[in-house]
Symmetry: C2
Subunit: 370 residues, 2 copies
Amino acid sequence: MAPVTQQTIPDEQVLTSVQPEDVPALAAGAAIFGTGGGGAVHTAQQVVQRALLEHGPVELVGVDDLTADDAVIMMSGVGAPTVGIEMLSSTAQAETLLTEAQRALGRPITTIMPAEIGGSNGVSPIGWAARLGVKVLDADGMGRAFPEATMISPNVAGVPCEFAVQADVVGNVDVRRTVDLTWLERHARAGVVASGGIVVAAHYPLTAETARGAVIPRTISRAIRAGHALLSSSDPVPAIADELGAEVLITGKIVDVARRTEGGFVRGSVTVAGTGENRGRLQRIELQNENLVALEDGNVLASVPDLISILDSETGHAISTEMIRFGQRVAVIAWPCDPLWRTPRGLELAGPAAFGYDLPYVPFERKSIR
Amino acid sequence: MAPVTQQTIPDEQVLTSVQPEDVPALAAGAAIFGTGGGGAVHTAQQVVQRALLEHGPVELVGVDDLTADDAVIMMSGVGAPTVGIEMLSSTAQAETLLTEAQRALGRPITTIMPAEIGGSNGVSPIGWAARLGVKVLDADGMGRAFPEATMISPNVAGVPCEFAVQADVVGNVDVRRTVDLTWLERHARAGVVASGGIVVAAHYPLTAETARGAVIPRTISRAIRAGHALLSSSDPVPAIADELGAEVLITGKIVDVARRTEGGFVRGSVTVAGTGENRGRLQRIELQNENLVALEDGNVLASVPDLISILDSETGHAISTEMIRFGQRVAVIAWPCDPLWRTPRGLELAGPAAFGYDLPYVPFERKSIR
């Protein structure tokens, strides 16, 4: 596949470590990158903050900092977030993952990275890295949250997944080598169910060479910066939008929530009625775990793989698809996805059609700054 | 656990290789050791015969022949035998298993052995060994067929299963390290379903040291010898019984078959009405995949873990629980299990109570020779 020009991040926006005081910002930012999905960040925030206080800060490195000695693997929680709230993970799980991943790879793993920056999976890897004493690649595999295993950046870039490891809280661990990510999804899901609903996973080993152009760069820095904007501003929504390069699509009130759980996914739509200067406008957000499409007067304002997040208009905190309810005051923001998702292969995997929408993808770009 | 005195096999009954001409005998013998279960042997017989003709005979070694350089692993098909008839395995599966098992073990595997001698799983490993160029341990993990992963000799002997590998025909492969065999059963079963119903598996790596007292010895030799007795005798039933040290419990006609498929198992019972000198007698065989208990006039004649096989009274060929039907002329034979199954731990795992029968276990011994 032809290389894709990825977003250039100014140096001053790049972090070289995650400190304990960054964790609330990372959690708030990861929730925004969750675009409605990715799982609640609160438990992960507590666990990670404790890990950093106990083991010290975590080193963040960029793709260009990786050397031939480095081996990177993605880590994430897989399963039903609702189960995750009750079945806490054990610190031994991350150690088991690392041990098995190293055995499968045949060399030490120096660096881990989140599989998805959105939601709890953007937060937990920082705590695992602190406990394991490894570096964290300032990048992730989605630049957001997505519901399926195939929707991951190295798969867009044509890098195959050599193996995947799953560890459960009981002490069971699996190493899978599947012919493709569709088979991985099928087998991993069966393993998650056999483990009671939730596991911790490591997959997609990468090198300095294969990581280049195959991950979404600097998303941990971006999430922390968005979170700091949220937590430090007296008017958080425009501050967050500014930090992300996002546009506020509407500010208003939730007037309708049509939501059902079907086939293991939350599906439905949310309707926002404009307030203040937006009075008289109605916007609908279609969702499947994540917010997929924002529509107004029959026009698509933004769609996957671009990012749509619904924020509490007062606090700026992201509201997930399962927590949204009638009467909430919200701001809907949208911002462009990484250029990798806009390639033909990226759109095939995660464009509107991949979610069953008969809509052409129109890249979302910020039209104004509020 | 205290060591168990295992059956001593006279030297002249021990084979040192499996030749192509032994394969029909092995298949017929393995079917008898299947005690009604273990899967049909015909496809395996064809595949193994071809493998031996192509790659030459397979070396059989005893537990005492193993050295510190040897590493042994059990191989078997796992899943629904009915699926196995339609979804043929690929020769690549055994190679994948060996590669992954060696990676998981960190050393070369020199020797494979059947997990169960009963049915197709007693036959197929000979073909895999021929293709892989490895030796075969003349032993198995059951000395018969059993329906569950926990019912295996090293588990009786207190040897833990370090890992299990599954490979499917598509090319997917899993390596599992579970906390015990109950968890292995649960995870492996989920993997089998995700693979479409059948896989080839390797598990329970053993050494010269751990294999001693933890496998059922010389069962391949015994199956081949029983099969040769069947195929070469003009009066096969007594010839087989003689070879196995079995007693013919009854000769008669199937007059009732009560059989249902429930919870993934075949359950029910078969009633045999005596003919000839047995006229007037009625014997009932309770079954769950395998023949479990033989009853007459309210008395238990034989029960698990001892072996009960229903043979065609004319040909001597074993009739499996799914092929048995009204009107068949049969001989029911029974013979003692390996002493390992008669230990408290063996009976806990595979005695009558393990199959839900509120019956005390009474060891079956041959009372007469016909």
